[in-house]
């Protein structure tokens, strides 16, 4: 088994798990957003890594004719979209956090729960 050869998948898995763990385990909303970003980045890495073909070169037609093997540019393109999605999500999340901070005075989950629990 080429465990070492699949190091990129390992990176993806580790990042994904770190990201998810932060989202679940951390109480600070800003940290949750960071975790979310890390999670999304891991997926981006996943796609980009599957685009690489062994022995393939950058998908640009050089002068003097076609090369034989190109790496797949499609996942990269898809990930451009995904990066944009990730940024929009992060921006929206941060905007919400700013509003929450204004409304509640805190961005810690437990304190938010306490405030909401007290006023319900």
């Amino acid at each position: 088994m080429q465990w070492l050869g699949l190091w990129h998948y390992w990176a993806v898995i580790i990042l994904m798990m770190i990201g998810l763990y932060i989202v679940i385990a951390r109480g600070n909303l800003v940290k949750k957003v960071m975790g979310l970003s890390i999670f999304q980045v891991s997926v981006i890495m996943f796609y980009v890594s599957i685009g690489k073909i062994e022995g393939g070169t950058a998908p640009i037609i050089p002068e003097g004719g076609y090369q034989l093997v190109y790496s797949n540019p499609l996942p990269h393109v898809l990930m451009l979209t995904a990066i944009v999605v990730g940024i929009s999500t992060t921006a929206l999340a941060l905007a919400l956090i700013v509003r929450i901070q204004e409304a509640y005075g805190t961005v810690e989950d437990d304190e938010l729960n306490k405030i909401d629990g007290a006023s319900s």
Binding site: V23, F39, L92, L96, I100, D116
Partner: protein
């Protein structure tokens, strides 16, 4: 023009959303948004008619041929869901002339309509596209705009609800993205029809299995399948009045559509149900959703929360229908898409009307409203009867198909459980009805009936629950044909 309609279905609301940014006037932006939503409904109706007459429509975006280009592929299932989304948005947007009690500063209402139109375009896009990555893109458009819409609710809890929904929804969307990536790994294509052709070659591989797992969990989060439903009660409860109606009636329906596409079009019912035996997982979860949702609804004091938990139960019915993998079962699930959109949309609009009159959503504050707001409360009773599944209403039709499907498969306990959970619905509906009609209202406050601008959309939807409960040709008939073609000959 007709050939460009598939693209227009998405382009129209999308660009109108951008145009809305330029229209700063509150009334003008609202009228513009309403006009656009009616336009979308017209397009959806024309598309449905075209599909019924001439079969599947295949539109090549930008002229690029699939599978290299993005294809908008409309068959009967898409057209059916398009109608649901377009119809709900066309009815909800004019509701109450925009008196939705949003916490938006004066002069910025146009942003709300911009977000709404973006949400509509996202929903329509998910439904109409034939390319899986396109689904993801539109899914994110929908999600982001709905997070924003929910956050505009009156109370500050709307912000937290939106944030929780954001986190869970993004995780879900990203899971879907991983699933798409793995499918791409195995098939090398993103076009749905192409994937359906190539995926069987890879059935044995673990990648396909994991892809399915990620896709299902991701869609499950969006669909609020038990136990991934945590975001739904708060989001529906604290969102602005009619936004809840809109989201409850569309967002989960479209997610269900995605699930149906994944299972029946991409992977194929044979693989999912015979090889993977997916129903062994889905049926218990659906039953739990039905019972836990209804049971928790009984104890709710806030009417929107009650309706939200009721929605979780109703989603359980839909996934149960899907997991039967028979024509009657799938018909039941699909027809419940339409029926639930009508029921819940109407009921949430009732809640919105009540909020407008008494500025509260607590059921205890609604004592005696049956006398002060008779038409609104009559709509609630009728919608409630539909939730219970009284014959003559749409709820009965869905239940009928589900029970027939259960008996066909010989799963008698499941049939009994479906009926028992309907009885739970009686309890939570009637609890509210008793308070509306049998308690004395507050004597001092003057409560008026909701204005016509609120009554008409509410009664269009609630009247629909009665009309389509008797005239089922359009809904159940279409759902049947869809189920037939999806199952491709399987019993």
């Amino acid at each position: 023009m007709i050939e460009q309609l598939p693209a227009l279905q998405v382009v129209l609301p999308l660009f109108s959303a951008l145009l809305c940014l330029l229209i700063r006037n509150k009334t003008a932006s609202r009228l513009f948004a309403v006009a656009v939503s009616w336009g979308c409904l017209a397009i959806a109706l024309i598309l449905l008619q075209t599909v019924q007459e001439s079969g599947i429509i295949s539109y090549h975006l930008g002229g690029w041929f699939p599978p290299l280009g993005i294809e908008y592929r409309i068959d009967l299932l898409n057209a059916y869901v398009l109608i649901i989304v377009a119809m709900i948005s066309a009815v909800v947007l004019p509701f109450g002339f925009g008196h939705w009690g949003l916490s938006i500063p004066e002069g910025r209402e146009y942003l709300f309509y911009c977000a709404f139109l973006l949400c509509i375009s996202g929903l329509l896009g998910i439904t109409i596209t034939g390319d899986v990555f396109n689904v993801f893109v539109f899914l994110e458009i929908t999600s982001l705009s709905s997070y924003a819409l929910i956050a505009m609710g009156r109370s500050r809890r709307a912000l937290r609800a939106a944030f929780t929904y954001l986190v869970m929804g993004t995780v879900g969307g990203t899971f879907i993205l991983i699933g798409i990536g793995m499918m791409y790994l195995e098939t090398g294509t993103l076009n749905m029809v192409d994937i359906a052709n190539r995926l069987p070659l890879a059935y044995g591989s673990r990648t396909v299995l994991v892809a399915f797992a990620f896709l299902t969990v991701g869609v499950g989060i969006k669909l609020a399948v038990f136990p991934l439903h945590h975001w739904l009660p708060n989001a529906y409860c604290y969102a602005p009045a009619a936004v809840s109606a809109f989201l409850a009636a569309t967002a989960t329906k479209v997610s269900y559509y995605v699930l149906v596409r994944v299972i029946f079009t991409l992977f194929g019912a044979a693989y999912i149900f015979e090889t993977l035996r997916f129903h062994v997982l889905l049926i218990p979860l659906s039953l739990l959703a039905m019972f836990v949702g209804s049971a928790v609804a009984i104890y709710q004091t806030n009417i929107k929360r009650l309706l939200a938990y009721s929605s979780i139960a109703q989603i359980g019915y839909m996934t149960l229908g899907l997991s039967f993998a028979s024509i009657n079962g799938l018909t039941g699930g699909l027809v419940h898409l339409f029926n639930h959109a009508l029921m819940k949309g109407g009921l949430f609009l009732v809640a919105a009307s009540v909020m407008h009159s008494i500025a509260s959503n607590e059921i205890d504050d609604m004592r005696g409203l049956g006398r002060k707001m008779p038409f609104t409360m009559a709509a609630f009773v009728l919608g409630g009867l539909s939730l219970i599944g009284v014959p003559g209403t749409v709820g009965f039709i869905s239940k009928w198909y589900l029970i027939v499907a259960a008996l066909e498969k010989g799963w008698y306990p499941i049939a009994v459980l479906i009926l028992l959970s309907s009885f739970l619905a009686v309890i939570y509906v009637w609890r509210a009805v008793e308070i509306f009609f049998f308690r004395e209202p507050d004597a001092e406050t003057v409560i008026k009936e909701a204005p016509l601008s609120m009554l008409i959309p509410t009664w269009i939807l609630i009247g629909g629950t009665l009309f389509f409960g008797l005239q089922t040709g359009w809904t159940a008939g279409v759902a049947s044909s869809v189920a037939d073609s999806l199952l491709g000959g399987l019993p």
